[in-house]
């Protein structure tokens, strides 16, 4: 019997988090992700050792996450763009103090209050750290409810493994849409590796402290290099991407999250008229899947980056390719949603132009 059920993206993240062992959730109301907070208010109460707090602010929520993470608990908060800006202080501290935590950003139109429509305007903020200081945040960008579910569990695993904050970067579309999904069985928390760094009272061991203040520049430098070595390991180990019909492609469309779904529809349409076009979808936005781009550049002369913003990921594409291929961009910001037909037209026009130039 199939265990598949129809679930909203925000609900799927929440349920997957519970099953991944999340035992502390703090959040603050903001559209379009309130369903996640509401789901958690019920789900955390339903488990004996679960805690739900509707915090007085985004700042309080992320700092409660810091406290819960200090005890070794799997902890999560979620918000949408303006709220994520407020959480950046805490994310910087999580990175500095090497605390695991999962942060969900259901992106909406911005800057400022913007609107509540799906957008990808927070790519820079998410992948460049977002808060102050020399650090990185692992950023995962799911493109379906099924993948939201899987990557929620992955997020908690990466957070614990690397002792670093992990961001799930979705958008209003991803959070609201209903899709069939099969929930994995809950994990057994007792089987997780112990966290000898966690604070639980100095019983039978020397006292511990968790800090980020390192007044001596040589100690701060050492700490920064320690973090950097960790980021290099992450960059080596976890880049993840999906390819679609790229084997014989002359032109590869690059997009993540919701934009990648639209782009996939466009690639299907142009394939029907015989254009050799494929799709490369980064699943990890940081670390960026640079190597596959470099490999593809041996045969692919043109990449078309499509984003629901004015051009952010396109910078990582250019940095990865270092001039090996042509990089083109098409974007729509502000919460507007392109159709596959619209993207197909952009592809067709670019494809013919480039092939004509070559011819």
């Amino acid at each position: 019997m199939s265990r598949k059920q129809l679930m909203k993206g925000s609900h799927a993240i929440a349920e997957a988090a519970v099953r991944a062992g999340c035992r502390f959730y703090a959040g603050y109301p903001i559209t379009p992700q309130n369903e996640l907070t509401e789901y958690m208010s019920v789900a955390m109460d339903a488990i004996d050792d679960g805690t739900f707090i509707q915090a007085e602010s985004e700042l309080a929520a992320i700092n409660m996450i810091i406290g819960a993470a200090m005890t070794g608990a799997r902890a999560m908060t979620s918000s949408s763009s303006p709220g994520i800006s407020l959480k950046q202080e805490g994310i910087s501290f999580l990175a500095a103090q090497e605390l695991p935590a999962v942060i969900v950003n259901t992106m909406r139109g911005g800057p400022g209050l913007g609107n509540i429509a799906p957008s990808q305007g927070d790519y820079f903020q998410a992948t460049r750290g977002g808060g102050h200081g020399d650090y990185r945040t692992i950023v995962l960008a799911p493109a379906s409810v099924k993948e939201l579910t899987e990557l929620t569990r992955t997020s908690f695993e990466y957070a614990d493994k690397y002792r670093t904050p992990v961001m799930i970067l979705g958008d209003g579309m991803m959070g609201q849409m209903l899709e069939p999904v099969e929930m994995p069985d809950p994990i057994d928390l007792s089987e997780l590796p112990s966290k000898p760094w966690a604070l639980d009272g100095a019983k039978g061991r020397p006292s511990l402290f968790i800090r980020s203040l390192l007044l001596d520049p040589s100690m701060e430098e050492e700490h920064n290099w320690k973090l950097e070595r960790k980021y290099q390991n992450i960059t080596r180990d976890i880049p993840c991407f999906e390819t679609y019909m790229t084997e014989d492609a002359h032109l590869v469309v690059m997009a993540f999250g919701t934009a990648a779904r639209i782009a996939k529809g466009a690639v299907k349409r142009v394939r029907e008229i015989g254009l050799k076009v494929g799709l490369l979808r980064p699943v990890t936005l940081w670390p960026f899947p640079k190597r596959v781009l470099v490999e593809m550049s041996r045969v692919v002369k043109d990449f078309l980056v499509f984003e629901m913003n004015t051009g952010q990921m396109v910078e990582d594409v250019k940095l990865s390719l270092e001039g090996r291929s042509n990089v083109h961009f098409y974007g729509r910001p502000g919460g507007t949603i392109s159709t596959p037909d619209e993207i197909a037209k952009v592809i067709i026009s670019l494809y013919h132009r480039q092939n004509k130039e070559e011819g």
Partner: protein, 250 residues
């Protein structure tokens, strides 16, 4: 036979304090260490130091400690306490930390009745940053950002944070003390001990506000600083039990 009458408390590390001569932090650290020892809770106590001079409390207190961003100690303490309800969790916060940048957090921690203890050190200035006006700086008091004295029109009045925190039903015990004399230090210790006991009994939010000298930024001698607290600061911030619902909540 020689009898030892004074020694370092068991849970104060053997490290010289970095605090300025006459600063109240070292006295307050010692009192916390004594109370933790006397209550036998060192193995299950977790402290949350603030941003400010006392951020280095973990260099002195020999218990588990987790540093909070500026103003957020009460929120961090909430996260710790909710996950480990049988541990004793306290935050240690200065006046700028708790009564300016962290006002929202502390009011809501008190309002939720979180079963945590707050040590609120009020010295009326931002000490670590060099003596700027704090939310608790007195009217007319000089600071580096109120060189002509705090002006009621320009700068507003000193905030009665502890009195504000007494309003919500969630708060159980709030007392204001000082560390200016052997007597007031003993009273401060009694208040800290009572606050921790309230938490141990699960009776809700407790806070001790301690008027504490900052001779360096006040540009006074340590002795004059103590006199100034007793004669002047206590007019705005009177020494008293502001709220005590311990018996009612039992």
């Amino acid at each position: 036979m020689e009898k030892k009458v004074f020694q370092r408390p068991k849970y104060l590390k053997d490290a010289p304090f970095h605090y300025c001569p006459g600063c109240g932090h070292s006295i307050i650290h010692r009192l916390i260490a004594e109370v933790i020892e006397e209550l036998g809770i060192a193995e299950r106590t977790i402290g949350v130091p603030p941003a400010g001079c006392a951020v280095l409390a973990y260099d002195y207190l020999d218990i588990d400690m987790g540093e909070a961003p500026h103003g957020r100690a009460a929120a961090v303490a909430t996260g710790i306490k909710r996950m480990l309800p049988d541990r004793i969790v306290f935050s240690y916060q200065g006046d700028g930390d708790i009564a300016a940048i962290g006002t929202a957090e502390i009011i809501h921690v008190a309002n939720r009745g979180e079963n945590v203890t707050v040590i609120f050190v009020n010295n009326g200035v931002y000490g670590m940053t060099g003596g700027q006006m704090a939310p608790t700086t007195l009217i007319g008091q000089n600071s580096t950002t109120t060189p002509g004295g705090r002006d009621i029109v320009r700068d507003g009045t000193p905030i009665d944070l502890s009195e504000m925190l007494a309003i919500p039903k969630g708060s159980t015990y709030i007392e204001r003390t000082a560390v200016t004399s052997p007597k007031s230090i003993r009273q401060t210790k009694r208040a800290i001990k009572k606050a921790f006991k309230i938490q141990m009994e699960g009776l809700g939010f407790s806070l001790v506000e301690i008027l504490s000298p900052c001779p360096t930024n006040w540009k006074m001698s340590p002795v004059d600083s103590c006199k100034w607290i007793d004669k002047t600061m206590t007019k705005t911030f009177p020494i008293k039990v502001i709220k005590d619902m311990t018996e009612e909540k039992k």
